[in-house]
Symmetry: D2
Subunit: 319 residues, 4 copies
Amino acid sequence: MLLTPEQENEINALRKAAKPSLRDVSPGLEDMLYKPIPVLDHGFVRVIDYMGTDAAIVQAARVSYGAGTKKVNEDAGLINYLLRHRHTTPFEMCEIKFHIKLPIFIARQWIRHRTANVNEYSGRYSIMDKEFYVPAPDQLAAQSKSNRQGRGDVLEGAQAARVLQILKENSVKSYAEYEEMMNCNEEGKIFDEGKDGLARELARMNLPVNFYTQWYWKIDLHNLLHFLSLRADSHAQYEIRVYAEAMLDVLKAWVPITYKAFMDYRMGGTSLSAKGLAIVKRMIAGENVTQEDSGMSKGEWRELMQSLDLEEVRKIEVA
Amino acid sequence: MLLTPEQENEINALRKAAKPSLRDVSPGLEDMLYKPIPVLDHGFVRVIDYMGTDAAIVQAARVSYGAGTKKVNEDAGLINYLLRHRHTTPFEMCEIKFHIKLPIFIARQWIRHRTANVNEYSGRYSIMDKEFYVPAPDQLAAQSKSNRQGRGDVLEGAQAARVLQILKENSVKSYAEYEEMMNCNEEGKIFDEGKDGLARELARMNLPVNFYTQWYWKIDLHNLLHFLSLRADSHAQYEIRVYAEAMLDVLKAWVPITYKAFMDYRMGGTSLSAKGLAIVKRMIAGENVTQEDSGMSKGEWRELMQSLDLEEVRKIEVA
Amino acid sequence: MLLTPEQENEINALRKAAKPSLRDVSPGLEDMLYKPIPVLDHGFVRVIDYMGTDAAIVQAARVSYGAGTKKVNEDAGLINYLLRHRHTTPFEMCEIKFHIKLPIFIARQWIRHRTANVNEYSGRYSIMDKEFYVPAPDQLAAQSKSNRQGRGDVLEGAQAARVLQILKENSVKSYAEYEEMMNCNEEGKIFDEGKDGLARELARMNLPVNFYTQWYWKIDLHNLLHFLSLRADSHAQYEIRVYAEAMLDVLKAWVPITYKAFMDYRMGGTSLSAKGLAIVKRMIAGENVTQEDSGMSKGEWRELMQSLDLEEVRKIEVA
Amino acid sequence: MLLTPEQENEINALRKAAKPSLRDVSPGLEDMLYKPIPVLDHGFVRVIDYMGTDAAIVQAARVSYGAGTKKVNEDAGLINYLLRHRHTTPFEMCEIKFHIKLPIFIARQWIRHRTANVNEYSGRYSIMDKEFYVPAPDQLAAQSKSNRQGRGDVLEGAQAARVLQILKENSVKSYAEYEEMMNCNEEGKIFDEGKDGLARELARMNLPVNFYTQWYWKIDLHNLLHFLSLRADSHAQYEIRVYAEAMLDVLKAWVPITYKAFMDYRMGGTSLSAKGLAIVKRMIAGENVTQEDSGMSKGEWRELMQSLDLEEVRKIEVA
């Protein structure tokens, strides 16, 4: 169940209650406001509130640069310039607040981004929901052999079935024991009135990290872009990347000019080291550079070739 | 001049352009939006945008505490509880953005509050405005004799006149030299087309710190309360306190329940050390405690007596 | 096992390798450096590095206040003054780095303190250790009936035994399944060479939050004091409080003057609201104040009476 | 005067007082400890304390990645990898504390880097020093005509002389008035015992922003690298760049491996946008790309050509 009926009703009521405001409004984001975007098997991302639009970034830059920005007539040109030159403070002038439901092991990665405000559901105070994540069969990846932090081929057949069985049964059993120790069920209904239950803050320790938690997460646009550049990246764990991808859709609706600049300057771009830049210059000048005469280690060279889409070619040349 | 005619027109246009939004709206703050509140001789504070109301604090607290908060029916009760027990994260769920015009020496104090987003007018990029702060005659305070960081009696007569003369003439002269070095005036009009002007980023160094700068300043409600508790305090320098006081009016209009709780639990309250608490307990029990048998230093004892309004009494007793 | 033999050897080697340094040295903390302080059943806290001592706080304050502080001859007097008046920046000039081993559910509370640097053991990259927390029998507390976030009486007999059985068996079983899914054991020894193992980043989701993780945690002294004031408090969950208490011992060895001031002004003290202060003044003046004429809610009144140790008395008066 | 005789003596005493410590020691930085590196006409940078060395970065990374990092035998390889892949948290495990003397207008730029701890000399509390910055003749740059934020040719002859005259005379006069208003001189000697002086917190507003202030500034290595990448950059204002350059020397002595990686991956490198990367790929494949068919604006194209050292060539081609 993505949302409780109570939550559904609340959202419907909120979506009917437009009020006049003198503030800057993002039409694209108003369309999405409060509505959950499903992620994984039981998770979601939804926008609860926001401040500012592309116009707020331009406005803040013009405070900094004064009359000097008047000649940049076009907002897109200015936003492109700011993002290209890492003038990040104007992007901090926009803010967004999400309600997110996510597995605990993903919440643990996510919270490492410190520059955000968080209110998380408390397992000390309240009973945890009986909802847990089990990967879809096409996500049951084996450990990568080349990359300690990556995934390899998808497991299949009996082995895949066994993994799913373990994850599901362990989740169900752990939660039943959680209820038993607390002497009450998910809704707080007491099993045995003659007995005390273990404190919630202790009983919860029996639950595995694939259980869902939820939080309000509020962040400024600059820090959101930084989060997305790391978590929508192909090296991020799949289970957090799908949240970042849902948030890219939010970004596109909210601040379309910034979204476009971000996809060009951050997501689709690359960084060159001093050595990498020197190699690129030599290649443009027509020189045939090899790893041996590049000054780079093998690993670094491979990464550079990948970023320049030269891997195949080089393999052939080597062969 | 508080605002340029251009800015006045922009504000008038914005204040006529109410748009429907599904977001939470603060009616009190909508009334103030964009309008400058004058501070000092040329400064102002005005609200540019905001996110959330008292309801957003309650909502965030309920995400954390889940069903557990249902029994607290009243929002005010919950907000009081949160503030009393320093559960600060729900207050971080509200955000506000100000446009502030202030003297540089106040900006230097202000910026020490790090947990905010800032876009300041750039003296590298643009020509500084010809506006400077000169204290009103009733603020020409002498150096305090007892407190190295405080003000004493107000200077009067010839001495006061001389101070005002110095400050005004120095400001006017410094700015004229600033223009001369740049070879252009405030509006950028070049004096001598045959000459280059000194770079703006260098010429500005001739201006004293009573010149005005301006910035956009965006902060969450928790950190705003912290800022106000320090800067609306009687020990803060007068020239920053008047900004904090203007912002207290904004706070009252924006989040009236939080404002009331803040005035009770923070602004009007006090902290007792372990020693101070022990002394208060003895006094309540009817004991006549003196500094000598208090375990406190003289300075600490005096501060405690002041906070308990017992100074006068004690003085009489001593006499 | 608190430490691996490898870690023990490393610590012994480090503790024999004193090197000359021109930096400020804390003799008390040098005695503790690198040595683990056991916490809970498998956890520990140990200091890895530090910067500054009480003298560094005094030195930083003197940079701010210049010649003005010369008359405060005594370091303790200055540190007391700074802490009493919440002049917090000089305390930020000291820094400490801990190595901490702690259960995941405690790590989740801990990480909410954002103003620290963290490097945590990665369950994506490496195999999690087979170590989990099981409470000591005297900590098997029932859910408090009056405080949704607190603990009540300790469970006993068959019920306690059952809780311990569940926690232990669930931990052992979850880890065995973790190994089975990865197709390798704790040391990375592969079970079936003919099969791939599930990616570590997925398999770990089967582990409950009572498993131990570890991290390096670096923080400045001001933020450490804030952390300790919240987590060494009697309202903190027992399992994090014991870490905070171990760190209070570290604080005492590291910066003994600050420790003493902290225990007086923060840990042992209390805050009074405007209403609370008014009531205390009336009580000191000899008035018999009751909740009804206090202007306070019942909850707030009860908290005030507790902080003033007047609860018993008032109960009798009411009776 | 770079340092007072009192400060000189203190430094000499500290540099003779080596003490044994079990902590990690950086021999290169010990050689520099406490000694001022002169910057501009009266400023300096000196290191007061530090925590960690290159080894601490490696150690922290190994906590995160566990046994997984054992195969990377070489510290330099690991540090290169971390910096290349923006794994920034291990660099946060090192900390450094500087004492810096700098003009106020540079302090205003500097303080915008928020992730640092600061104790600044207080002009409310103490009398400001009579020291101000006047640029060397070769730094009297004209306003750039192409870049609103940059410098052009150096002013010469009578115009240069006039600028220097203005800056010096204005500084001397402003300080004399500052003393007159306070009714005391730099050392606090009162001029007229029969009169009060204006409060220091007011009198200071007469001083221009080329006066020197000083502060303790403490920052972790990751944030220091970020600061240096922006402020040692050729686009930074000269007067802050010289401080950054002095700090690069400190970096080299403190963490030589990190310094080398930083110069390769950050200072000497460049970023390519998605469009930029596509153009580079086409150029490497031998295609003759022009701005017109690049998809880039003229400004963006010019920046790309500059970073690839292709500007001259293209100019010729255009001609």
